[in-house]
């Protein structure tokens, strides 16, 4: 299982306009200017590919920080 730090790096790779060095486990990703439903699909793809975990829409919508998403992934593993 990948660590939280590795998850943050994978998460940052999905973003186009946000500087990866500004992305941390505590980043409130849905407040990012570039966040959109299209990026949510990229996140779901990444989690499916890297963790073999299926995120639902509510998992993304109910998460505030990147760490929250990671914790859901861990709980579904």
């Amino acid at each position: 299982m990948k660590t939280l730090d590795e998850f943050v790096v994978l998460f940052a790779e999905q973003l186009d306009e946000t500087d990866p060095s500004n992305v941390t486990a505590q980043t409130k990703f849905r407040e990012l200017e570039e966040w959109s439903s299209l990026l949510a699909l990229s996140l779901i793809s990444m989690v499916d590919e890297e963790f073999d975990v299926t995120l639902k829409g509510d998992d993304v919508k109910n998460s505030e920080t990147i760490e929250d998403v990671y914790n859901i992934v861990v709980s579904k593993k």
Partner: protein, 357 residues
């Protein structure tokens, strides 16, 4: 587990009818339901739909009618030879009677024709094929037509930049010795509200409030309009479609990577690319028409074959096709065609005239 095999049936021809009007997602119309969430360029890049064929006057049955006239002429089938007509659509001419009955008369088919409507969306063409193949493999009937598609909305409404209109027809014959069709089918009704038209059925009757625009996950919609939980549908598609394809291959003992084509329901590009990647299939084996036609519901698999594989069906061709979506419902089919005939795309204008006869 719903696995099926029907022998002695062959798919012999296909045609598709689309509106001649082209909507362009980079230049949205006032009637397009454009999201403020992202730029049109990002939608086209990520979702993979540039153009859609749209009609405000032609019903699904109109598009299927013109496609069928073309295919009957091309295959030289007599009208009296058609023993069964199955229509798959969520946009029927009337709440009742069945649209297939209307098409039987309009197409001049005999009163001995078996007609049914199936109400399914994205998985519908594969389910329709299943129904037709099961009827034909008995040998009781010899020729059948499967029509599939969705078109004109039930009310003037803003239209999603994802969906296009199309009506298709697939011709099948009883042919002793033909390899036939293998199917895997599945359903998960717990996701019934992932794609739903909330009002207008008997659960929630149509009322003045059905016509009020309200905020929902994929934009501002009326309750008589389809709405979608995009993220849930995405998760469903990228997990269920690859599993279904692997399951059918395992059950019937074939290598899915050896097939000539995997034709997926044209959901959106992000989803379809992910499915192909998970199955380790190269892009040339996974044709797509959504860039020019959008997601066309139950028409999407036959429309992809008609528009993308027209010159590529001589000799024997092995097809895998997988439909997945509203229901939630999914199905995969494996079959082989031999010199399958594909008609030129039929384009129909707003007056109902075929413009490229």
């Amino acid at each position: 587990m719903a696995y099926f095999e029907f022998k002695d049936v062959e798919l012999v021809g296909m045609a598709a009818g689309v509106p001649s009007f082209i909507a362009n997602n980079l230049h949205p119309l006032p009637d397009d339901d454009v999201s403020s969430d992202y730029a049109p360029e990002d939608f086209v890049k990520n979702i993979g739909v540039l153009e859609r064929r749209i009609t405000y006057t032609q019903t699904t049955s109109d598009l299927c009618f013109h496609a069928t006239e073309k295919l009957l002429a091309d295959l030289k089938w007599g009208r009296e030879e058609v023993d069964a007509l199955i229509l798959v659509s969520q946009t029927r001419d009337y709440a009742t009677p069945p649209t297939s009955c209307i098409l039987q008369d309009r197409l001049g088919f005999s009163k001995g024709t078996y007609c049914i409507d199936l109400t399914l969306g994205c998985s519908g063409w594969v389910y329709g094929l299943h129904t037709v193949a099961s009827l034909l493999s008995t040998g009781c009937i010899k020729k059948a037509l499967l029509m599939a598609g969705d078109s004109k909305a039930v009310h003037p409404m803003k239209l999603s930049p994802l969906f296009g209109h199309a009506g298709t027809v697939t011709a099948l014959e009883y042919k002793p010795g033909a390899k036939g069709f293998q199917f895997h089918c599945g359903t998960d009704g717990s996701g019934y509200d992932a794609i739903i038209v909330p009002d207008g059925g008997t659960r929630h009757l149509m009322a003045p409030s059905s016509f009020v625009y309200e905020e929902c996950e994929d934009g501002v919609k009326m309750r008589i309009q389809p709405r979608m939980k995009g993220m849930d549908v995405f998760s469903f598609g990228i997990t269920t479609a690859p599993k279904s394809i692997k399951k059918i291959a395992e059950h019937f003992g074939f290598d899915y990577q050896s097939y000539d084509y995997l034709v997926l329901h044209q959901a959106n590009m992000a989803m379809n690319n992910m499915i192909a990647k998970k199955l380790k299939l190269p892009a040339e084996k996974v044709p797509s028409c959504m860039y020019h036609f959008g997601n066309t519901s139950s028409a999407s698999i036959p429309l992809t074959i008609v528009t993308e594989l027209k010159e590529k069906t001589s000799g024997k061709v092995n097809f895998l096709c997988c439909g997945f979506g509203v229901g939630l419902s999914w199905a995969t089919v494996a079959f082989t065609t031999e010199n399958m005939f594909i008609s030129d795309l039929v384009e129909i204008d707003e007056e109902g005239n075929v413009i490229n006869k």
